[in-house]
């Protein structure tokens, strides 16, 4: 029931770009140090992961130089332009040797090996790699692959639900993972039905094949399912068993790479999204060895300590908001989905029972109570329904009744904003427009929460939201009577990590700004002494026109 498509993985694929700072080009010492094998004016580098060492590669030439440890690479990261990961043939050869030692049925396993080696190179992520398995003749009729990955030492496990054209990612606790791992290991015939795994709601329809395998850094569970109830044939079970043995080595390589990639990415985002300018001192590039010639032939040390500043662009602030917003929405979405899952059935039970009781004879007072109960139940149902719609992770635009949506957000913020008197002023009776309701709701949510928190001790706190369409632009005006934001220019308040609250993250308004621009709109903070005043402008197209 989770809707988050694998956008995080796409990020991994496209967001890896590093610019070489202009200041660095002028840095004499760096030039001196790298100049022997890097042409600075081109300023474009790539690095490749070759086995366990990392190599820098220059776009324009064949020259490459490698880092022997990940730490070395990380030190140099700020200076990289583009990154790509490709497994080396050496890694693949090693796996193949390892597989051959297993002495599997030759004809089947060798076809798997050659196909998988190709796929390992041609796919860029683990999910993409797993998805390509559906091309296999033996797997053609299967619909879903579940891959559970536990990186040893981590508190959570990752569960990829992979279908031919999409994938979802979940997280489970270790205890769930180990009980699944154990029950699969204990099973003899390797085929399963929904009921054969206890205590773990797998949400797999029908029978499935499963295999578990321990790797050096990870424990893995692989499940494939056709989403039907027909039992698997003997050949299918046999082939699956061979496939998993071959596959385990390849998954290990892929996992190793994504592990490195994610560390690199984390660092990249840390650099780009840090509120402060980052300085790297000269030690960061202290040891670079040339992979082409002898490993230790280039050992460069800077003669004097110098400090390089990495420029941060304005955009980095928006990226930051995105990541936090993304995390928040997926977390909320997950929570709400679980809630809906667990609550909708018992609430429906209450509804039926109440309806049943209403059919019977009662005195007026009892009847009134029962009707009230029924109304409350129906309200709960519509709240559940609305919130799950509100937080579905989509990029789609849909027709939204603005007043209704703002009222839903008010309900959502109720516990935080109980003291705040909220009113919506709208010139027309109903106002609908096309928008991404999740993003729109998040913007409103953040603004309401801000007003509520700023006016906590004020018993006459008010928030007025006025809606007006002027020349194809929807103006949403937020005005509260709280303390406002003191002594600051209107631009400042939208910066990430800018906060006046004791426990604020300083991200709320940054997220608002980022989402508004995604909706092709703008948001302004207007200085005024009556309170905080925000003006949100969004392009307005009446769907009925």
């Amino acid at each position: 029931m989770e809707n988050s498509s694998d956008t995080s993985n796409q990020k991994v694929k496209y967001n890896l770009s590093f610019k070489l700072n202009d200041n660095l080009l002028d840095c004499e010492s760096l030039r001196e140090r790298l100049g022997s094998f890097v042409n600075f004016s081109s300023a474009e580098y790539q690095y490749e992961l070759i086995s366990n060492s990392l190599a820098f590669k220059l776009n324009s030439s064949q020259d490459s130089f490698s880092f022997n440890t990940l730490d070395d690479l990380i030190q140099a990261l700020p200076f990289l332009k583009e990154t790509s990961f490709k497994p080396s043939f050496l890694d693949i050869d090693k796996s193949i040797q390892r597989i051959e030692r297993l002495k599997l049925k030759q004809s089947t396993s060798s076809s798997y090996i050659s196909k998988l080696s190709e796929l390992l190179i041609s796919t860029s992520s683990l999910v993409e790699f797993m998805q390509s398995l559906f091309q296999f003749k033996d797997l053609k009729s299967f619909q879903t692959i579940h891959l559970f990955v536990h990186e040893k030492g981590q508190v959570n496990t990752v569960h990829y639900e992979i279908e031919k054209s999409n994938s979802r990612k979940y997280s489970h606790t270790i205890s769930d993972f180990s009980s699944l791992f154990k029950s699969i290991r204990k099973s003899k015939n390797r085929t399963y039905g929904q009921t054969s795994i206890k205590g773990f709601d797998l949400d797999i329809i029908g029978t499935f094949l499963a295999h578990e395998f321990p790797l050096s850094n990870h424990n893995i569970i692989l499940i494939i399912s056709r989403n039907d109830f027909l039992p698997q044939t003997k050949t299918e079970v046999e082939n699956f068993s061979i496939l998993t043995k071959v596959l385990s080595s390849f998954i290990e390589i892929k996992l190793h790479h994504s592990l490195v990639l994610s560390k690199v990415l984390n660092l990249k985002s840390a650099i780009h999204e840090s509120p402060f300018n980052i300085y790297a001192n000269d030690e960061c590039l202290a040891e670079i060895s040339n992979s082409k010639s002898n490993k230790n032939s280039y050992n460069h040390k800077l003669p004097n300590k110098s400090v390089f500043q990495i420029n941060k662009s304005e955009d980095s602030m928006l990226d930051h908001g995105d990541i936090f917003h993304h995390e928040r929405v997926s977390l909320l979405g997950e929570l709400l989905n679980t809630l809906r899952h667990e609550l909708s059935n018992p609430i429906f039970g209450l509804q039926l029972t109440t309806q049943l009781l209403l059919m019977e004879q009662h005195n007026e007072e009892q009847e009134e109570f029962l009707s009230e109960v029924l109304l409350s139940i129906e309200r709960s149902q519509s709240i559940l329904e609305n919130f799950t719609n509100l937080y579905k992770e989509t990029n789609s635009y849909e027709e939204v009744d603005i007043v209704k949506l703002i009222n839903e957000v008010f309900t959502l913020t109720k516990s935080e904003s109980r003291h705040l008197r909220k009113e919506i002023l709208c010139s027309t009776e109903s106002l609908t427009f096309n928008t991404n309701s999740t993003w729109f709701a998040q913007i409103i949510f953040n603004l309401v929460i801000n007003s509520a928190q700023a006016s906590k001790d004020n018993s006459s706190a008010r928030l007025k939201v006025s809606l007006e369409v002027i020349d194809g632009v929807l103006n949403i005006d937020f005005q509260d009577n709280g303390p406002g934001i003191k002594n600051n220019s209107s631009n400042e308040v939208f910066k990430a990590f800018y906060t006046t609250k004791d426990k604020g993250t300083g991200l709320g308004l940054a997220i608002c700004k980022s989402l508004t621009s995604k909706l092709n709109g703008s948001i302004q903070y207007l200085n005024n002494d009556k309170g905080a005043h925000f003006l949100l402008k969004l392009p307005y197209e009446n769907p009925s026109n």
Partner: protein, 123 residues
């Protein structure tokens, strides 16, 4: 008219029972799928209203078991699936069996009960 209601949420189960009884049906209930199967095998029900997500097995498992005694046509006509989480997969699956699927909560109580009694979706 004999109806079997298989549903693990006790309030839903009992309320449906009472409501269907008011409409003149004779209703038996089961909370677990495995309890329902032997009842079905006695072949005495005109209609089987079956929740999809039960504690022990799924409604689809029950239908598969019922294939032993019922033809495909009988299954399509006897079984009515009620579910709170109707994904596309579930709907396709149910369509393969030819069964009517009712989403919980029911959009219209009267027509839902009517479908359970008649086995037909009427507009």
């Amino acid at each position: 008219m004999k109806i079997l209601v298989i549903e693990d949420e006790i309030l839903i189960q009992q309320s449906l029972k009472k409501m269907l009884e008011k409409l003149g049906a004779e209703v038996q209930t089961a909370s677990k799928g495995l309890d329902a199967i032997p009842l079905i095998k006695e072949n005495k029900f005109d209609r089987i209203v079956c929740d999809l997500m039960l504690q022990d097995i799924t409604g689809f498992d029950i239908i598969e078991e019922s294939k032993l005694i019922y033809s495909t046509e009988e299954i399509a006509q006897k079984f009515i699936i009620i579910t709170a989480y109707s994904s596309d997969q579930v709907l396709t699956k149910a369509k393969d069996y030819g069964c009517i699927v009712l989403n919980k909560p029911f959009a219209n109580m009267k027509s839902a009960l009517n479908i359970m009694i008649t086995g037909k979706e009427v507009e």
